[in-house]
Amino acid sequence: MANHCPARFDETMISGHFDGELTQATEQKVRVHLEDCEYCRTVLGELRTLRETTMSTEFHTPADSQWDERPQTGLSLVARGTGWIIAIVWAVFFAGYALWQLWQGSADLLERILVFGGLSALALLFTSVLLDRLRAARTDPYREVEK
């Protein structure tokens, strides 16, 4: 059997017909075509089988206790967001102050090593995350899915 309709009928209409989502005129056109086309009747039968399988599938759902153990408000999310903002502001001020002290030449060798070491580590971590995100953006399976 061919893998497409011999009459080149638009197959998507079969799904629309099966779901009862076509206009009256298109519906009539599909019905007439189905009477003559064995391939499209087979497609329709396969859609029916698939739908019967999916609609009869049942899923385990979590018990109420599993939900109750979890936070019911967004308070923890707000606290986490605020915490991150404060931490970032603090890190920027700290790094700025340390660099300023180095610029003034008042820092000894140990302080220079601590500042450069810390800032280099942060820069490397940031670069690592940035590279991963760029790679993820290029291979993101959802990138073509409309928002």
Binding site: S15, L50, S56, Q72, R135, E144, K147
Partner: protein, 208 residues
């Protein structure tokens, strides 16, 4: 003289409609909030499970979805149906999670199994052979669904598992109705192809 009065006939009070429940919840009515939470969280969980395939991850997503749902409830128009809006929140969270997973590779990426499915007899006198065949078919379709590209998986889940109309799917995914029909048909054909491949693979293995 009049006879004894009969007791007033109890009038059945219809349950509040979804819109009424939403309005009461927006006003902070505890019962309405509870009712909305109970009905929506299971829907959110099942939809997340159908998209992700892992019960623990689905529970995390559903919980986050409920937080977002109630955070934006005040802005929701009660005249509109809740379900497409709720499912849209879940779908966006699943999409964000998929992006995060591609960055944080430490999290599990193992394939979904059929532990999430509930196999229970649906009638009093089930034919064991028919039941077994149906279970096998459900598990196979479930497995193949997880292998579909997300853009096809989500439209298929919304129609063939969640039973949403094309209009509601279009609202949920923010795509035109015509695109829903064409993408859905493509998704169904890809799923059938995947099922066929698995069947022939299993058959070959059994024969070999």
């Amino acid at each position: 003289m009049t006879g004894p009065r009969s007791a007033p006939v109890p009038v059945a009070v219809p349950p509040p409609s979804e819109a009424q429940t939403v309005i009461l919840a927006q006003q902070g009515e505890a019962d309405a909030l509870d009712k909305l939470a109970r009905s929506c969280r299971q829907q959110a969980y099942v939809f997340a499970l159908q998209l992700i395939g892992h019960p623990d991850d689905a529970l995390d997503v559903a919980q986050d979805a409920m937080v977002r749902f109630f955070r934006s409830l005040e802005r929701f128009d009660p005249s509109r149906p809740v379900r497409p809006w709720l499912l849209r929140i879940v779908r966006n969270l699943v999409r964000d999670r998929a992006r995060r997973l591609r960055v944080r590779r430490t999290e599990s990426l193992e394939p979904a199994n059929d532990d999430a499915l509930r196999f229970e007899p649906r009638d009093d006198a089930p034919d064991p052979e028919a039941q077994a065949t149906r279970r096998e078919q459900q598990a196979l379709v479930w497995k193949c669904l997880q292998e579909l590209n997300p853009r096809y998986r989500e439209v298929l889940v919304l129609r063939d598992y969640q039973d949403l109309s094309y209009a509601d799917i279009a609202t949920t995914l923010k795509i035109p109705r015509g695109t829903v029909m064409s993408r859905l048909h493509r998704a169904r054909r890809l799923l059938q192809e995947e099922v066929r491949k698995h069947r022939s693979g299993t058959g070959e293995a059994r024969d070999g």
